[in-house]
């Protein structure tokens, strides 16, 4: 089947349900507001066609003041009383005008793409910055890799469709001199560090004892989550089997539509794997003493699929829900 404009996973079945609040019934219906387009790229067509077909980056230069804008937003310069501009090609290396943000919690459209950076690059020969995706070849994008002034290289996707997603940047420092100098560098020209499950050192008796003690604490916290309405609501409709590997032992977390369990058995065919040398990293997160999300970002906890950040957020949210309920009780 050809790829659809809207992936099927986003589309709910027709239906409705009743929610009860203070003894009254309210009707809630699955619904969508959708419009399809045959949308013209208009005056931007040369820019997108140059990316798609020629792996070239175009800007526009004002014939009066000489300012070079990338992307080529304008056929006439607003700074020169609408003097005409002309299309020119600019370089494929440039510098970040400021430190870029990194999105870990993405909108529903971009959850498979997170974590990603989006920053503004002034390419060589240009005066203005273009907004572009930023990645590292070394795994999860963390703060500190990309900063104001970092030199970056434009990279083209192997399969291009004439959209901004056809291009992105990586730090020049992660590439060879030849790669930096190559015009039209493609993603397949780069060695991407593949996600390899980190090995764990052999466990000592003390490690195994430590694991057993902490696993009991994890079970207790997960049970508390399971008794908390707010936390249960956080995982309504969500199902995941997670295998957790630590130095002193392994266990599983099972999320099943409003229920969560920590079990000593190794679950069969897990949806994803978590690896953390010290089980305390996960325990602290579940106990609302520091976010699990941040453990993944700083490398203390490894997950086998980046898109499972989604599940990690839910676990963080459950920890907060339990903490909020406790506080609310103490306020009453």
């Amino acid at each position: 089947m050809s790829e659809k404009v809207i992936p099927l996973k986003y589309i709910p079945d027709k239906g409705s349900y009743v929610e009860n609040i203070d003894g009254k019934e309210y009707l809630i219906s699955n619904d969508a507001m959708y419009t399809f387009y045959r949308r013209s790229k208009g005056e931007f067509s040369p820019f997108f066609l140059a990316i798609r077909d020629e792996k070239r980056l175009l800007g526009c230069r004002c014939k009066s003041c000489g300012i070079v804008r990338v992307p080529p937003f304008l056929t006439h310069c607003p700074d020169c009383n609408f003097s005409p501009t002309e299309l020119i090609e600019v370089g494929q290396t440039g510098a970040l005008i400021s430190t870029p943000p990194i999105t870990y919690f993405a909108t529903s459209l971009f959850q498979d793409m997170a974590p990603y950076g989006r920053g503004r690059v002034v390419f060589d020969g240009a005066d203005t910055a273009i907004s572009i995706n930023l990645y590292t070849t070394t795994g999860i994008l963390r703060p500190g890799i990309l900063k104001k002034g970092t030199r970056v290289k434009l990279v083209f996707r192997d399969k291009r469709i004439g959209e901004m997603t056809d291009i992105f940047c990586v730090p020049e420092g992660e590439l060879t001199k030849e790669q930096v100098e190559k015009k039209g560098l493609q993603e397949s020209d780069i060695n991407w560090e593949s996600p390899v499950e980190p090995g764990l050192p052999d466990a000592t008796d003390a490690d195994i004892e430590h694991f057993k003690r902490l696993f009991d604490e994890i079970v207790a916290i997960v049970d508390e989550m399971n008794r908390n309405d707010r936390a249960k609501k956080d995982i309504l409709g969500w199902r995941r089997k997670i295998l957790v590997k630590t130095k002193g032992g392994e266990f599983s977390i099972i999320i099943d539509d409003g229920n969560i369990q920590a079990v000593p058995e190794k679950v069969d065919s897990p949806d994803f794997v978590m690896v953390s040398e010290d089980p305390k990293t996960l325990l602290n997160g579940l106990a609302y003493r520091g976010a699990i999300t941040d453990s993944v970002i700083d490398g203390r906890l490894w997950i086998s699929k980046n898109k499972e950040f989604n599940t990690i957020f839910k676990l963080d949210r459950m920890a907060r829900s339990v903490a909020r309920s406790k506080k609310k009780r103490s306020n009453l």
Partner: protein
């Protein structure tokens, strides 16, 4: 000669994460009923409505205000909708002020309303990713939407650029303290979404990273609710005030600015929020404020993010650029300090029902001026990509 314009009534609905019990029709009417009652007038006394509704997708209707007009009892009268991103509410007040000031109407209803969490993402079985996706349609559609533009990452761009220029400012322990302080201030706001969600600075520091450098407890929350103001020109305002026994809070300064959407030479300066700078200076000039650090006592600031609250305070000239942390370090916004900032808890704790938010802020500023017997307040709205839009309003209590 333009006329003086004042606030003679105000009302808000409870701000909630989800209003299953009400559609936006009923929320709009609830806030209106409160405002009219507060002013001691009848809906028939209102000449015009200015609707602040941000996002058609949230309301699931284009022209979402059309049904409201008759349902509020305003048929056959003037009605106009303002939509300017996060700054919708403040721009709506600005528009109403201009019409009244010009003498077109004697009275106006400023009504902000928003749904949000009807949006639902069936792939993650949660609302938030779909809510922020709906906001994500607000980015530039040719170049930025397709690569993951979001409200958070576009404000983060500005904050990080500011931090590039002022590496010693916006320290994580200070943003955490500000968030914690706001969570204490919200306790007295019984309309707030998070009235009982007090957090410690440590909890803020420990909360998960959402979009670097923003942590979960440093970001405003999505809210459903409505807020309304009754505005009147001077003569009418004094008559309404005399009858209701409530003082008029005058809108003595209004300033707006919209920056460039894109960065680089002759375009947006990423490390600044020049819209905050220009809008505040225009509002000060209109109000005759020479030194805002001496005049302004209450600030109801649109805190989409704690870091941006700090930068906005600096752009307003209330603290030096690069020394925004003095808000805490010098005690400026601590209890008993020089400035009362977001006594309602701000949009982080009271909630962000986008079109209604800045109107709620004006409601709070008016309450605080009257309740505490203070004189001057600044009300602020920010919005669009890279903090591009700003409206500042100066409120004065005689």
């Amino acid at each position: 000669m333009s006329k003086r314009v004042g606030i003679v009534g105000a009302g808000v609905t409870p701000f909630k994460g989800r209003w299953v019990e009400k559609t936006y029709y009923e929320l709009a009417q609830m806030a209106t009923r409160e405002a009219v009652r507060d002013a001691g007038i009848s809906i028939q006394d209102i000449d015009a409505v200015f609707y602040g509704i941000y996002n058609d997708i949230f309301e699931r209707a284009a022209i979402p205000e059309h049904a409201l007009h008759g349902l509020l009892g305003m048929q056959n009268k003037f009605g106009i909708r303002i939509t300017t991103g996060g700054a919708t509410g403040a721009y709506t007040i600005s528009a109403a002020h201009a019409y009244l000031s010009a003498g077109r109407f004697r009275t106006a209803l400023v009504l902000g309303v928003e749904k949000a969490t009807d949006c639902f993402d069936f792939s993650s079985m949660s609302a938030t990713p779909e809510v922020i996706k709906s906001i994500g349609w607000s980015g530039d559609s040719f170049f930025e939407q397709p690569i993951g533009w979001s409200a958070s990452d576009s404000y983060a761009e500005v904050v990080l650029a500011y931090m590039d220029e002022h590496p010693g400012d916006l320290k994580p322990e200070i943003t955490a303290q500000i968030s914690s302080l706001l969570s204490q201030q919200v306790k007295t706001n019984r309309y707030a979404q998070r009235q009982f969600d007090q957090v410690t600075p440590e909890e803020v520091m420990n909360s998960r990273m959402v979009v670097y450098p923003f942590k979960e407890l440093e970001i405003c929350v999505y809210t459903e609710g409505a807020a309304a103001l009754i505005l009147a020109e001077e003569e009418t305002a004094r008559a309404i005030s005399k009858a209701s026994g409530k003082p008029v809070v005058w809108i003595t300064g209004v300033g707006e600015a919209n920056e460039h959407s894109f960065a680089g030479k002759n375009q947006k300066i990423m490390s600044r929020i020049m819209s905050d700078y220009y809008a505040s200076r225009r509002a000060y000039e209109m109000a005759g404020i020479k030194d805002p650090t001496e005049s302004i006592q209450v600030i109801e600031l649109h805190d989409a993010f704690v870091h941006q609250l700090e930068i906005s305070m600096a752009e307003f000239g209330l603290v030096p650029l690069g020394r925004a942390d003095s808000l805490i370090e010098d005690g400026l916004m601590l209890e008993g300090g020089k400035y009362l900032v977001n006594p309602c808890g701000g949009l982080i704790y009271c909630g962000h029902a986008v079109g209604a938010s800045n109107i709620m802020s004006a409601w709070s500023a008016r309450n605080e001026l009257i309740k505490r017997g203070l004189h001057t307040a600044l009300v602020h709205g920010t919005g669009s990509t890279v903090a591009q839009y700003t409206v500042c309003l100066i409120l004065e209590h005689e």
